[in-house]
């Protein structure tokens, strides 16, 4: 008995301590509805007449809006319901709410409600409520409602009086003063139900439809009641292509005027409307953004990095759990991707997108870098400082009760049954849709634009099907509580306990002049400790939801403020010299100090040279047609660039090698710094060749520069005529003569040239690297050492120098350098799937590989190498341009990415299979469908996607005997950076800063005069599931005090250009770098 009671007590104790612990330890606490009085649950019942097949957005759920409807200083909540009534909860303080829906008259009149937004539409200082509903459709009867606040907690639907009783498929409204006349206008987001699976020409978006999106101008400031439909004259698309699921309003380009972002589901692009300040908008997505979410759901626009410019976040449906990922629909197959392009749609990928605002350079998409790209079937993203540490975090709701993207369901669920009618068969299908309930995501900002999910630690990990969400400081304690509208589950109200963290905060209420009483659209900046934070009061955020007018800033450990700035909706800017923290300030327009408008610095008219030449990549080659699993194209590696004084006038001239069917061109520099094309028949004759690399050097020893041009393109098989490299002898006057006998006939995909007098006989020899075997990615192409016979003819002496067993692997870049200072040069090269390899000349006869400490894990996808003494310690260091971190492929020493290459199915073609770690499982990067396409017999190993998804290692997929025959190569390091040579000859890796890891670097070069490294990046040739990567075209960094610091040089490089080469050139007495772009012109970087 005694024993029993002890055990019992311990048990009780455990129970208590667990419960205590949970409450005490987590940042957020789920408040029980019995306490809050918020009983709202968006209960949804699928029926024969209304279900996901009858209405495609059956499971999209409802929104929630926060706002103080009675101006008592407590934020109230309004929930939108689909089959249940909408509910308005009055905040009574202390997390207690009262349902006043019926007395307030805001229940939605039985309609299917989607989105809800609160705004003071009529300028009376009271928040009104706009609700979007589905009109007459399959038994649903509704229309959009504008509940005008009558005071005393009473509302009246005056949508028809105001001319906004839209009847169709309403998603949500956003309010903004787009014309700065002092009242709030309305963007009405709607969706379509027209079969989205049949692609329509993208230019159909120009054809207005009554069901499309709308822009309404408020006539309040004109002294009238109501709105005018100005859609047609405003530049807003209003077609049936729009499946609008999210709308966000912020000043995207920092001009003080509100811009609009619309996320569209299915094939239609998202829209980014820039306000032209004249009552119209210009849709500018494709000029500012390189890719978007494909099935864009909700969005949020807010500043994540304190530069005052909002980032854009959109949600999609890529699973986060590896097993779910492997059995769910992924990216478009290459052919579907192409079709969408043909129909005129922009680049879209099935994952969340985080568009980093780079000001006039547009946006860099960094979701893969930031690790926020996958959050399963996601709806509402909210960017806000969840833990008040001064860094904005991202909360994402997710979940769909019936998962349509399950591949087993799509491919295998349907069973023919003659007894079923068509209708019964379809209903049966709904029942077969799989169900998975997951927790929402809570991405904590780590401070470097990288995020990690804290759902469990923060107590936000309750499984749910969550749709709309909002944040608000419900208890006025200086942190943002979280409110989530769930399907078939009570709404979540989470109390934020940041008050216990010791982090300070600031709460700001705005009082604007005119009819926009709460200052909707105002941007508030908070300055402290050399930092700045910005928020705009937008009122429409996430998915179908809206936030309150009180702006809450987390300040971390700040002790005092410097000042607060407000950009009011009418364009005026004021500064409030508030110092104290942990306060609520009400800022009245006109009471601050008028900010001295920072004069827009007129751009200095910098002189840049001009060469009228554009690389024209007309290549239609699609390597995936013959190699279904190839990870990237090698058809866009040019242009080739060589700089040198070819006519002895002391001025740099330039050779530019064209793409296929584009002749190489030689430009001679004139004394005034202009360039004149030197016509040459001989270059035109080789126009068919895709030139990717070129170099000037005196190859025949006559004292004049000769020209070596290397060809690639990966189109023709090895040995094809136009893949032969070529040597042209120069006569010192700018004329070049083709020397047909100079080179052995190689015909590989040349990638790099490294020129050096290898045998010490006084002439120049050449190492010619090759990147890929045409038709066989992963195999080792033939790279060669060409020994000069003294007269500019070369012989392949690879075996003599490297031995017969040499395997160069895939070579992207090679250089000669005397790394160890012994006056004997070494060949340094690397490429895909191999580390930096160093071969030293031994006795002037042999090249022998040297294993270098610190380079063991340097293997990645290095495209470019350079050697320089970066830190001035007298030791040469090795600089690398690599894949970067903004990729789905993530590599580390512990979890490398593997290439398994070999003829898995013994059909005469080798198959390159990339394995990567998802969690602790080493699984193919390719989808099951893609693997089957390449290796049909693999289907025998897994009869379903579920079984495939359970495969955890290569041996689960292939026989040991098969795996024994194939080659395995690892990539451990995808970051670009510098291997710094130590005094003992070993290397220590120092990656470049994060902002240079956002794109693959194709050109890395060191400038000794500026002690800076130049990085040229961007690449659009990845396979569809890796996606284009155009997040960073150019960067330059200076090594200072043992760290890289960004250093700016004037340049003309557009942010989406793909830079392949950065050559030094002196023009008119000034030093430049000429940046050669693929499929584009030359750009310039001014050094002096």
């Amino acid at each position: 008995m005694k024993r029993f009671s002890t055990a019992f007590l311990i048990g009780i104790g455990l129970l208590f301590s667990c419960k205590e612990k949970k409450i005490a330890d987590t940042l957020f606490e789920l408040m029980p509805s019995e306490k809050t009085g918020v009983a709202f649950e968006n209960t949804l019942i699928s029926s024969d007449s209304l279900n996901i097949l009858e209405y495609l957005y059956f499971y999209n759920g409802g929104g929630v809006a926060a706002g103080d409807i009675n101006n008592d200083g407590l934020v109230d909540l309004y929930f939108a319901g689909n089959q249940v009534s909408n509910r308005l909860y009055l905040n009574k303080g202390n997390f207690q709410f009262e349902d006043i829906s019926e007395s307030a008259g805001v229940s939605g009149e039985g309609g299917w409600s989607s989105g809800v937004t609160m705004a003071d539409v009529n300028g009376d200082g009271l928040l009104d409520i706009y609700v979007s509903q589905v009109g007459n459709y399959k038994g649903l009867v509704g229309k959009n409602r504008l509940y005008i606040n009558q005071g005393e907690n009473k509302f009246e639907d005056q949508a028809s009086v105001y001319g906004v009783d839209f009847f169709g498929f309403g998603t949500q409204a956003a309010f903004l003063d787009y014309d700065r006349d002092g009242d709030l206008d309305m963007y009405l987001l709607n969706h379509s139900v027209k079969s989205p699976e049949v692609f329509a020409r993208a230019n159909q978006r120009n054809e207005p439809n009554q069901l499309g999106d709308k822009l309404f101008k408020n006539l309040l400031s004109e002294g009238k009641t109501g709105f005018e439909d100005v859609t047609e004259s405003s530049g807003i698309y209003s077609s049936i292509l729009g499946f609008g699921l999210g709308v966000g309003v912020e000043d995207v380009n920092g001009d003080g005027w509100p811009d609009i972002y619309v996320s569209n589901d299915f094939t239609e692009n998202d829209y980014l409307y820039l306000n032209l300040q004249d009552g119209t908008f210009k849709e500018s997505l494709e000029s500012l953004v390189s890719s978007t979410s494909r099935y864009s759901m909700g969005n949020d626009l807010a500043d994540l990095n304190g530069d005052g410019l909002p980032e854009i976040f959109t949600t999609d449906m890529l699973p986060r759990d590896p097993e779910i990922w492997m059995k769910s629909v992924g990216e478009d197959k290459a052919e579907v991707y192409e079709i969408k392009k043909q129909f005129g749609y922009a680049d879209q990928y099935v994952r969340n997108h985080l568009q980093l605002n780079q000001g006039e350079n547009g946006f860099s998409e960094i979701a893969l870098f930031s690790e926020v790209y996958a959050s399963d079937w996601s709806w509402s993203p909210l960017i806000f400082d969840m833990d008040n540490d001064g860094l904005a975090d991202i909360h994402i709701t997710n979940g769909i009760e019936k998962r349509p993207n399950d591949l087993d369901f799509i491919q295998y669920s349907q069973q023919a049954d003659p007894k079923l009618t068509r209708k019964e068969l379809l209903e049966n299908q709904i029942n077969l849709l799989p169900t998975v309930k997951l927790p929402n995501l809570s991405f904590q900002n780590q401070g470097n634009l990288q995020f990690s999910d804290q759902a469990i630690n923060w107590g936000l990990d309750q499984p749910s099907y969550s749709n709309g969400s909002t944040y608000a400081d419900l208890d006025n304690d200086g942190d943002l509580d979280l409110i989530i509208n769930n399907l078939n589950q009570p709404a979540f109200i989470y109390q934020n306990h940041s008050e216990k963290s010791g982090n300070s905060f600031l709460r700001i209420n705005l009082k604007a002049k005119g009819n926009n009483t709460f200052g909707m659209g105002a941007k508030v900046g908070v300055y402290f400790a050399g930092k700045s934070l910005f928020q705009q009061y937008s009122g429409t955020r996430g998915f179908l939801s809206g936030t309150a007018s009180t702006l809450v800033f987390g300040l971390g450990k700040a002790l005092a403020l410097d000042s607060i700035s407000v950009n009011w909706p009418d364009g005026t800017e004021e500064v409030f010299l508030k110092k104290s923290i942990n306060q609520t300030f009400t800022l009245n327009q006109g009471e601050g100090k008028t900010a001295s408008k920072t004069a827009i610095r007129s751009k200095e008219a910098t002189f840049y040279p001009e060469i009228s030449w554009t690389h024209q990549e007309t290549n239609t080659l699609d390597e995936t047609k013959r190699e279904y699993l190839i990870p990237k194209s090698f058809a866009s590696m040019g242009p080739a660039v060589a700089v040198g004084d070819v006519n002895g006038d002391g001025l740099d001239d330039i050779y530019l090698g064209g793409a296929k069917d584009q002749s190489g061109t030689l430009f001679l520099q004139n004394i005034d710094g202009t360039f004149l094309e030197k016509k040459s028949e001989i270059f035109a004759q080789f126009a068919r060749a895709e030139d990717v690399i070129a170099a000037f050097a005196d190859l025949n020893g006559d004292g004049h520069l000769d020209l070596y041009v290397g060809s690639g393109g990966n189109e023709h098989l090895s040995g094809a005529l136009f893949k032969f490299d070529r040597i042209f002898f120069g006569n010192g006057k700018g004329d070049f003569l083709f020397s047909p006998m100079s080179l052995p006939r190689l015909g590989e995909n040349t990638s790099t040239l490294a020129i050096h007098d290898v045998d010490g006989d006084g002439d120049l020899d050449i190492f010619v690297g090759s990147s890929v075997v045409s038709g066989d990615y992963g195999a080792s192409p033939k790279s060669v050492l060409l020994i000069n016979q003294g007269n500019g003819t070369f012989q392949d002496k690879t075996k003599e120098w490297f031995g017969t067993d040499i395997d160069f692997g895939m070579v992207n870049s090679a250089v000669w350098a005397d790394l160890n200072g012994n006056r004997i040069s070494s060949l340094i090269f690397t490429g895909d799937w191999q580390g930096i390899r160093i071969f030293e000349i031994i006795n002037g006869k042999k090249l022998q590989e040297q294993a270098m400490s610190g380079l063991e894990y340097s293997a990645g996808w290095i495209q470019s190498l350079a050697v320089a003494d970066v830190n001035g310690d007298g030791k040469l260091d090795i600089l690398t341009g690599n894949l970067g971190l903004n990729s789905k492929l993530k590599a580390s020493q512990e979890k490398p990415v593997w290439l398994y290459h070999g003829d898995f199915d013994e059909n005469g073609q080798a198959d390159p299979i990339i394995f990567h770690y998802m969690g602790d499982q080493l699984v193919p990067f390719a989808s099951r469908d893609e693997l089957i396409k390449q290796i049909p017999a693999i289907k025998r190993k897994h009869s379903s996607y579920q079984i495939y998804a359970e495969k955890a290692r290569p041996t689960d997929l292939f026989e040991d005997a098969t795996l024994a025959k194939i080659t395995k190569q690892a990539a451990y390091e995808f970051r670009s950076g510098a291997y710094l040579q130590q005094t003992d000859g070993s290397y220590v890796y120092e990656p470049f800063p994060d902002q240079s890891q956002l794109s693959p670097i194709f050109s890395v070069s060191w400038d000794e005069s500026k002690k800076s490294v130049f990085l040229g990046g961007n690449f659009s040739g990845f396979r569809v599931d890796l996606g284009t990567n155009l997040a960073s075209a150019f960067g330059s960094f200076h090594w200072k005090e043992n760290a890289w610091t960004s250093i700016n040089f004037g340049n003309t490089i557009p942010s989406k250009s793909e830079i392949r080469n950065l050559s030094t050139i002196r023009v008119n007495g000034n030093n430049y770098r000429v940046a050669a772009s693929n499929s584009g012109p030359l750009y310039w970087i001014k050094l002096d």
């Binding site: 996901i52 097949l53 495609l56 957005y57 079969s195 989205p196 699976e197 049949v198 692609f199 329509a200 099935y295 197959k333 052919e335 579907v336 192409e338 079709i339 043909q342 019936k402 349509p404 993207n405 369901f409 799509i410 491919q411 295998y412 669920s413 349907q414 023919a416 049954d417 003659p418 079923l420 068969l425 299908q429 849709l433 699609d622 995936t624 047609k625 013959r626 279904y628 199915d905 059909n907 005469g908 073609q909 390449q934 290796i935 049909p936 017999a937 289907k939 025998r940 009869s943």
Partner: protein, 446 residues
């Protein structure tokens, strides 16, 4: 103890007696019942594994050929096809005394059929159940084993033969490239699948001297001019769809034979799978063989010859499809006549000219007519399991012509593709009958 010994002894005696007593199992398999069931299972697996129509025809053919070669090895009234078919070598299989030929034939069918598909488990399960049933009919285990072994021996020869038809290599041939050239094929809604089997003309033919031996007439020259022949044949498809009668619609749906129709509603999509055109005709072959009372050897013959006819039809048709690479009515009509138009049937993922169903149906019908006489009352229940009704025909040619026309009713083919398809299919089968024999020459002339 003694008692126990005695009991044991008598027990052994009892077993020995029961073993010794010979059961007549010669009637265990007489007709085509078991091979029909095995074929039905292969059809299910083909559907599950999503094999395209040309590949499906190849699977049926090799499996049937294996079954037939066992029959030919035991009955001098049948002539081995090995040695007659392209790339095959004459074989002379000698079954041991113990072999029960109909079981060996069935075993060969399962053995080769299973090697041709992915979901082997589905096949093995079915085979094991069938074998268990047969064992209960008293086939002694040594007979059973010998029969299965002989089936495997013949099957291995057929597998070796099949392995050289370039199918395996063709899995890695380049995918079809959509050029976007005017008038050429583009992927079609809603799945926008890539064009399947663009290199099927590189698969070895069984009888034809080449894939292009029966090259059909080309389609009318592409044009968007409303007065052109091409516009008119496209408009005809469009008008047909609008004017289609209930009977025509039913005909189209009956012969849809789409192994992979993608249903899409918003974010929800699921594949709906039916038997392939070849599968449908193999089923008709089984139905009429049964109705005609063919024995197991006769059924194997019917299957093998029908399979070969279908296979050659698909190779010839696919050769033309990727020669003319013609745009589908759905794409053309959406571009030039009605942007919203959707055909009654879902457009299959390969170029238009000629109609595969037309070529295959005409070829199969010709061969079945040779075997049974054209006038034959067919009660076609092939599609019942897939929710479609029974349809009856009075002749093979009637069924084939209806199948061909159904593609026009369904809005997925222009009329020339159907007309040239029927001609091509017939010519191909007629040629096959001049080149191969299943009956000894002297018997055939009697």
């Amino acid at each position: 103890m003694r008692n126990l010994k005695f009991m044991l002894f008598s027990g052994i005696l009892l077993i020995a007696v029961s073993c010794a007593e010979p059961v007549d199992y010669s009637e265990a398999i007489t007709d085509g019942q078991y091979i029909n069931e095995a074929q039905d299972r292969i059809t299910e697996v083909i559907i599950h594994d999503i094999f395209s129509p040309p590949v499906a025809a190849r699977i049926y053919t090799y499996a049937s050929l294996a079954a037939y070669e066992v029959a030919a090895s035991v009955d001098p009234n049948y002539v081995s096809l090995m040695g007659q078919l392209n790339g095959s070598e004459k074989t002379s299989f000698k079954p041991s005394e113990k072999v029960y030929p109909p079981l060996a034939s069935l075993a060969a069918y399962y053995y080769v059929g299973t090697a041709m598909i992915f979901s082997e488990e589905m096949m093995n399960e079915h085979r094991d159940a069938t074998f268990a049933t047969l064992k209960k009919k008293g086939i002694p285990s040594e007979v059973f084993e010998a029969s299965v072994a002989f089936g495997k021996e013949v099957g291995d020869a057929i597998k070796a033969y099949s392995s050289k038809d370039n199918y395996h290599q063709s899995r890695s041939f380049p995918k079809f490239t959509v050029t976007g050239e005017e008038g050429t094929w583009q992927p079609t809604p809603p799945a926008y699948m890539e064009a399947i089997e663009p290199h099927w003309n590189k698969i070895r033919t069984f009888v034809l001297d080449s894939a292009s031996q029966f090259k059909p007439l080309p389609p009318p020259p592409f044009s968007t001019d409303p007065n052109s022949k091409f516009f008119k044949v496209a408009k005809e498809v469009y008008d047909m769809d609008i004017a289609a009668t209930k009977e025509q619609k039913e005909t189209a749906l009956f012969w849809d034979c789409n192994p992979y129709k993608m249903n899409v509603k918003g974010h929800v999509m699921f594949a709906e799978k039916k038997i392939t055109p070849g599968g449908h005709w193999m089923s008709i072959a089984a139905i009429v063989s049964k109705a005609d009372g063919r024995d197991w050897k006769g059924v194997a013959e019917v299957f093998a010859l029908t399979g070969i006819s279908l296979n050659e039809a698909f190779i010839s048709c696919w050769d033309e499809k990727y020669r003319s690479k013609l745009i589908r009515p759905e794409t053309y009509i959406n571009q030039h006549i009605d942007e919203q138009w959707v055909p009654l049937l879902q457009t299959p993922p390969f170029p238009e000219h000629t109609s595969g169903h037309s070529v295959a149906s005409a070829a199969a019908a010709y061969t079945l007519a040779q075997l049974f006489g054209d006038e034959f009352h067919i009660v076609d229940s092939s599609e019942v399991a897939y929710g479609l009704p029974i349809r009856e025909f009075d002749s093979f040619s009637q069924a084939a012509e209806e199948a061909a026309l159904s593609r026009f009713y369904g809005g997925i083919h222009y009329r020339p593709a159907i007309e040239y398809g029927i001609t091509g299919g017939r010519d191909i089968a007629a040629y096959i009958w001049t080149k191969v024999d299943t009956k000894p020459k002297n018997v055939a002339t009697n």
